[in-house]
């Protein structure tokens, strides 16, 4: 149970950090493609840092896989939004959306894990 709470907390923290860092390095009017690439790169670097810090507490793969999706896709989405000034005008709003995005990704990975988990081959003795 504690690990599950930790997974969601880690996802929301990474979502918030990614959203705020992307907000800081992109700006309205920036070429959207460039903003998306910059956001993706920033998100990937952040996921490695956050993943390294949290994996002793939550497990390597349980941290790394959702974190990589949050970093990569979150960075792209937030970069796209911020280059177009398309919502979340304040930093608090951007952080809130980042947290929601992180939690949704963690939930999605958990659902996918539940689908994939289990025996995939069993030919007996």
């Amino acid at each position: 149970m504690l690990f599950t709470i930790g997974d969601y907390l880690a996802g929301s923290i990474l979502g918030i950090v990614t959203a705020l860092v992307v907000r800081a390095i992109t700006w309205p009017g920036m070429d959207m493609v460039i903003a998306m690439l910059v956001g993706m790169a920033a998100g990937m670097v952040l996921h490695l840092v956050v993943g390294l810090v949290l994996s002793p507490c939550l497990g390597m793969f349980e941290t790394m896989m959702p974190a990589s999706l949050i970093g990569m896709y979150g960075g792209m989405f937030f970069g796209m939004r911020d280059s177009m000034a398309a919502g979340s005008a304040t930093h608090a709003a951007a952080a809130g959306v980042g947290a929601i995005f992180g939690v949704v990704v963690v939930l999605g990975v958990k659902v996918y894990d539940a689908i994939l988990r289990g025996t995939v081959l069993d030919v007996g003795e």
């Binding site: 793969f61 349980e62 990589s68 030919v123």
Partner: protein, 204 residues
């Protein structure tokens, strides 16, 4: 001959190994315990590490545990002493095993073939030292077959392999290439962390 580069890498990793596997031990431990319930007969554990996985073995086994890293084995000695059974620790490279053919009934591995530089060579050595009809029980992480996850693991491997394991190994394929017959595969986390059971056919 021992692979010195790999040995030095894991000697260095031994200092922080227990820290980085703390949560994995708790989250994945029950699965390892379930897998190792299937151990029977003379048993070889490959890549003992710091001995974190000894506690997942059933009690009263008499097994040999090897690792390429003497620093890892130093840390494993205390945990081997605490095990309710007998664990004989030896420094050895899985690609060059100092055992006669057909010595063991079971080989057990935990996150080993993400790190062995020549995995098929190592698995062939394990195939050699297993008795006909012997089994290999593996708890391993592999490359995901799911597009985005697989690509991410590919991207992270150049970094991870400097400090520890590769993240994009096709260990199931390597097991088959080494001559084993797959008996059972179970996904433990996504399609990345797996329990793999394979056997050396009696005719082999």
């Amino acid at each position: 001959m021992t692979d010195r580069v790999t040995q030095e890498k894991w000697d260095a990793a031994s200092r922080t190994f227990d820290l980085f596997t703390f949560a994995d031990d708790r989250r994945l431990g029950p699965h390892k315990r379930r897998l190792f319930q299937k151990i029977r007969g003379a048993t070889l554990m490959v890549a003992a590490g710091t001995g974190n996985d000894f506690k997942f073995f059933p009690p009263n086994l008499q097994l040999i545990a090897i690792d390429i890293s003497p620093r890892m084995l130093e840390r494993a000695a205390r945990k081997a002493a605490a095990y309710q059974g007998s664990i004989d620790l030896r420094e050895m490279d899985v690609c060059n095993l100092d055992f006669p053919a057909a010595t063991f009934d079971t080989v057990a591995t935990v996150c080993t073939f993400c790190s062995v530089p020549r995995p098929v060579v190592g698995l062939r050595e394990l195939h050699r030292v297993l008795k006909p009809g012997g089994q290999i029980l593996m708890f391993e992480h592999v490359r995901s077959a799911i597009g985005p996850f697989g690509i991410l693991l590919d991207l992270m491997t150049p970094l991870s392999s400097r400090l520890g394991p590769d993240l994009n190994r096709d260990t199931v394929g390597h097991v088959q290439k080494a001559g084993f017959r797959l008996r059972r595969i179970e996904n433990v986390y996504l399609d990345i962390v797996k329990m793999i059971e394979a056997v050396k056919d009696a005719a082999a």
